[in-house]
């Protein structure tokens, strides 16, 4: 029997990027932060051809017909990646009709797949990419600000990897992660306590195993004692197989320790810890299991009883312990849309609290690429990589730095957004020549 997931896979096979407007571009004269073994190439050149980086280094001859971007005195980095967003799924947070990140009334949960709802025309995308963020993980959520509130499942569903470049298809990889919430959130969904959340999760995983072992009998009729819905079980098969990473939201040290035990129990799971406000307290367990972390360094308040040990030093302490982590955020929230562009500021603040500068830039480039397994195509400026390149007028982690040029998939991004249009319309209030709506 062909599973629904297999059908969906056909529908969602992300078409290879068609680069109608890919240009041949040479970025010259800048300090190139390659994020590779090449380190920083001063006064270097990046050549971009057919959407890919073709050369990086000093004394590179610029072939004829290349569009030259003079980056003298500027900084050149890979495009940045925000590893936790709702970009493309949400136009106005508190407006349900403009949101596609939660499906709390759906009769399934793990099977919810955000990739069908992606809208590359969402205004936040242009606002985000023109400041140097070129890739993102797009996550489902288990709550909505509209009627409906939280869904009743630990599982939020399937997230997607996207690029923020031009074109009608922003999808890079559907079903890039399975999102599950543990900790206090999971506890409240499972009936009111962590003990229930973990029993529920472990039961679901064992049902997935049973299903795999006894597909024929399941096909005859759904087992009466099955707790998990068939759609959700099928969505979880590739998770249990390690094809789709399991993104686990947990904050408290003891919860994170349980997550590492889950990894021990199911070695095939590719667990990524999301949140991890107290992760610095359990670095031994994280190191032992190799679980990477996605965190927001601005989360330093004892915001909930499960994050009393939250600290601005979290990222620096994880780095000291050799834990692989990506930095997300924008404001203090975990999953950003409007200000997903501000990962430069959040990463910079981790530096203010002891994280080495280079590690901070890695946490918004190569590290998320490694965590999601796309480091062969994105995250560093090396020949063969997809050409996501940003030219900055200074240190990208400084709040006063601007992105002067942004290239995604080899295409130069116009530095225009709904915000810049509003800005230009109202820039001169003294000009009484015509009403603002004609400007």
């Amino acid at each position: 029997m062909k599973t629904l997931n297999a059908l969906l896979a056909c529908l969602l096979l992300s078409a290879p990027l068609t680069l109608a407007h890919a240009e041949n571009i040479a970025i010259t004269g800048g300090a190139i932060h390659t994020m590779s073994a090449a380190g920083i190439v001063e006064n270097g050149t990046v050549l971009i051809e057919d959407g890919k980086i073709s050369a990086v280094g000093q004394n590179i001859a610029i072939p004829d017909g290349f569009d030259v971007i003079d980056a003298s005195g500027k900084w050149v980095t890979p495009g940045l990646m925000n590893a936790a967003t709702r970009l493309g799924l949400q136009e106005v947070m508190m407006e349900g009709s403009a949101s596609d990140h939660s499906a709390q009334k759906a009769p399934f949960s793990a099977a919810f797949d955000v990739s069908y709802g992606l809208n590359p025309n969402s205004t936040a995308i242009a606002i985000t990419r023109m400041e140097g963020v070129t890739r993102a993980l797009v996550l489902p959520s288990t709550f909505s600000f509209g009627p409906g509130g939280m869904n009743g499942s630990l599982f939020g569903g399937l997230g997607a990897l996207v690029h923020l470049g031009l074109g009608a298809d922003m999808l890079l990889r559907p079903r890039a992660v399975m999102y599950v919430e543990l900790g206090a959130l999971g506890a409240s969904k499972a009936g009111g306590a962590r003990g229930a959340a973990w029993v529920s999760l472990l039961n679901t995983l064992s049902e997935v195993q049973n299903y795999q072992a006894n597909q024929a009998s399941y096909a005859k009729g759904w087992r009466q004692d099955a707790y998990t819905k068939r759609l959700d079980i099928e969505a979880l098969i590739p998770v249990l197989d390690g094809q789709i990473p399991l993104l686990v939201r947990a904050e408290r040290a003891s919860d994170i320790r349980q997550v590492t035990k889950l990894q021990d129990l199911y070695p095939s799971l590719r667990i990524i810890l999301f949140g991890g406000k107290e992760a610095w307290m359990v670095t031994d367990d994280l190191a032992r299991t190799g679980i990477p972390v996605i965190l927001n360094p601005l989360n330093n308040l004892p915001e909930f009883f499960e994050s009393l040990a939250a600290t601005s030093h979290n990222a620096a302490r994880l780095a000291d312990a050799g834990i692989l982590f990506a930095i997300t955020g924008g404001s203090s929230g975990m999953v950003e849309v409007e200000n997903a562009r501000l990962i430069t500021q959040t990463a910079g603040n981790a530096v203010a609290y002891g994280l080495p500068w280079r590690a901070a830039l890695e946490a918004i480039t190569v590290n998320p690429a490694k965590i999601f397994g796309i480091d062969d195509q994105y995250g560093a400026l090396e020949p063969g990589m997809t050409a996501d390149v940003v030219v900055w007028d200074g240190d990208p982690l400084e709040v006063m730095t601007n992105a002067d040029a942004v290239i995604i998939n080899g295409e130069k991004i116009p530095l225009v957004s709904r915000q810049t249009k509003l800005r230009d319309r109202y820039k001169d209030l003294k000009d009484a020549s015509k009403p603002f709506m004609y400007r």
């Binding site: 136009e91 106005v92 947070m93 508190m94 407006e95 205004t123 936040a124 040290a253 107290e278 307290m281 601005l298 989360n299 330093n300 308040l301 004892p302 915001e303 909930f304 009883f305 994050s307 009393l308 040990a309 939250a310 600290t311 601005s312 030093h313 404001s331 203090s332 849309v337 409007e338 200000n339 501000l342 500021q345 910079g348 603040n349 530096v351 203010a352 609290y353 982690l397 400084e398 709040v399 006063m400 730095t401 601007n402 915000q419 810049t420 509003l422 800005r423 109202y426 820039k427 209030l429 003294k430 603002f436």
Partner: protein, 486 residues
């Protein structure tokens, strides 16, 4: 503590008293009996004047002990738009004694070499809910900021909800915040009184209360009140319902004020007048109409702000500041004309419909129109980095061709907010005679990497990045895994 204002107030009181005595002596009051023998006849004819106590929860704040300090070789931003490279500042007795390029320390005074460091006035946040929405977020227990039982709750005072043990006061202090206005939330059309606090550890709200700061009144436009009450099936459920609600409240307040004015007039005339029955809600609204309480109004949309300015004119009060003012850039000229401040985020937008048109140049565009410009937080996280918010706004303005200096941008963080909460005589700038509310930054505070190294309130060191003994830890955090970890 005895600031210029206090001195002035005291002086005015003495003058008033003398004038009254002169008036009594000269028989100026009608009813010569009163003038001749007020002890006997006045008590017989006239009961004692009923006065509404303007300060029933007085500040008990006392500056922490301080020694004179000279800080030298700093880049000094004075909070009024001035900058001194290689500057110095002398604090003594809790006050700023001198500010200049080269100051020599009087004998025996501690000197801090601030080479490579920056010195600014303490940051003042005009929009905070610290203490009323305390950490940790505990449903119910720590939700003390919105009295969502009626759309007009001018009778409530935020100070009665402030929990001084909120751990977020300390993290805000580590971000260089020396004073802040705590507001009720924005669920209500009229949410209640605000309170101005000094960001110092204390056992009670009164121990933090900024002496002689006027009260504010929180009002709110737009989506929040109409959503909160509309969803309960009661007014207001629309923006027009909102406006009807404000106007009804002000009509009542005007009537109440009239009664009190008549009473005071009759009393002055020596008549045996009966004081009106007090009403806590109308006391506060009357305070606004009398110009004693400053209006702070949560408002996002440009068109709504213009309506609110008209409501204020209709009833004869002033809106001191619009808060959030995400569309202030569209009407910055109106704000300047009306002498109304805009307190803004650098770049929050899009989280609700009325925030959809937010732009990153809002702050510099408002400043460019000559309107009073303030950077605010409305967030226990954001309050820790208001300097970075000003930096982003400054950079975005400069990029759009609206050029301000770092020194000018600091007025958005200290002097303008001080003015909006009525404490600009005491604090908000580095000027001799003012309270020594000062932050020494370990670098340029417009950099992401810079942190507040030392924070002084009234000349006393209240936070030191390099000395854990001078980092306050709230009772709540004691014995917890995060104790003392910023």
């Amino acid at each position: 503590m005895p600031s210029q204002t206090l001195k002035t107030t005291a002086l005015l009181a003495i003058v008033a008293l003398l004038a009254a005595l002169v008036a009594i002596e000269s028989g100026m009051f009608k009813g010569s009996d009163t003038a001749k023998s007020e002890d006997d006849d006045k008590t017989k004819d006239q009961k004692e004047l009923v006065v509404i106590d303007p300060n029933p929860f007085p500040s008990t704040y006392k500056a922490l002990p301080s020694a004179p300090v000279l800080i030298t070789n700093v880049t000094l931003l004075d909070g009024r738009g001035g900058r001194i490279d290689g500057g110095a500042l002398l604090m003594e007795g809790g006050k700023i004694k001198a500010v200049g390029a080269a100051l020599t320390a009087p004998e025996g005074i501690a000197t801090i070499d601030g080479t490579g460091k920056w010195l600014t006035p303490g940051i003042i946040d005009v929009h905070s809910h610290l203490g009323v929405y305390a950490q940790p977020q505990v449903r119910g227990a720590h939700e003390d900021g919105n009295e969502m039982s009626s759309p007009v709750t001018a009778n409530v005072w935020a100070e009665h909800s402030v929990w001084p043990q909120d751990p977020a006061f300390a993290t805000a202090l580590a971000g260089g915040v020396t004073a802040l206005q705590i507001l009720p939330g924005s669920a209500n059309l009229i949410g209640g009184r605000s309170v101005v606090l000094k960001n110092v550890p204390a056992r009670s709200m009164q121990g933090m209360k900024f002496p002689d700061a006027p009260y504010g009144l929180k009002m709110a436009c737009g989506e929040n009140p109409k959503r909160v009450y509309g969803s309960k099936g009661r007014a207001p459920g629309t923006r027009m319902g909102n406006v009807a609600g404000y106007r009804a409240a002000w009509i009542k307040a005007a009537g109440y004020k009239q009664k009190w004015d008549e009473y005071n007039k009759k009393f002055e005339a020596g008549e045996d007048a009966k004081a009106p029955t007090r009403d806590l809600e109308l006391d506060t609204l009357m305070g606004v109409l009398n110009g004693e309480i400053l209006v702070h109004m949560h408002c996002y949309r440009a068109d709504e702000m213009v309506v609110m300015l008209d409501v204020a004119k209709e009833f004869g009060y002033k809106i001191t500041a619009f808060h959030h003012a995400v569309e202030a850039y569209k009407i910055a000229d109106y704000l300047a004309e009306n002498d109304t401040c805009a307190a803004m985020w650098a770049d929050w937008w899009g989280f609700k419909m009325e925030a959809y048109d937010g732009i990153q140049e809002n702050i510099p565009f408002v400043a460019n129109a000559g309107a009073c410009t303030i950077v605010h937080s409305d967030s226990p996280s954001g309050i820790q980095r208001l300097n970075q918010e000003a930096a982003k706004a400054l950079a975005d303005g400069n990029k759009a061709g609206v050029n301000f200096t770092k020194a000018q941008a600091w007025t958005w963080l200290s002097f303008n907010p001080a003015k909006a909460i009525g404490v600009e005589e005491q604090t908000g700038s580095l000027e001799p005679g003012k309270n020594a509310d000062v932050v020494l930054w370990n670098g340029d505070p417009f950099s992401t990497y810079t942190r507040a190294e030392q924070v002084y309130v009234d000349g006393a060191l209240v936070f030191d990045l390099n000395d854990e003994a001078v980092q306050p830890i709230s009772d709540f955090e004691l014995g917890q895994p995060g104790e003392g970890d910023i």
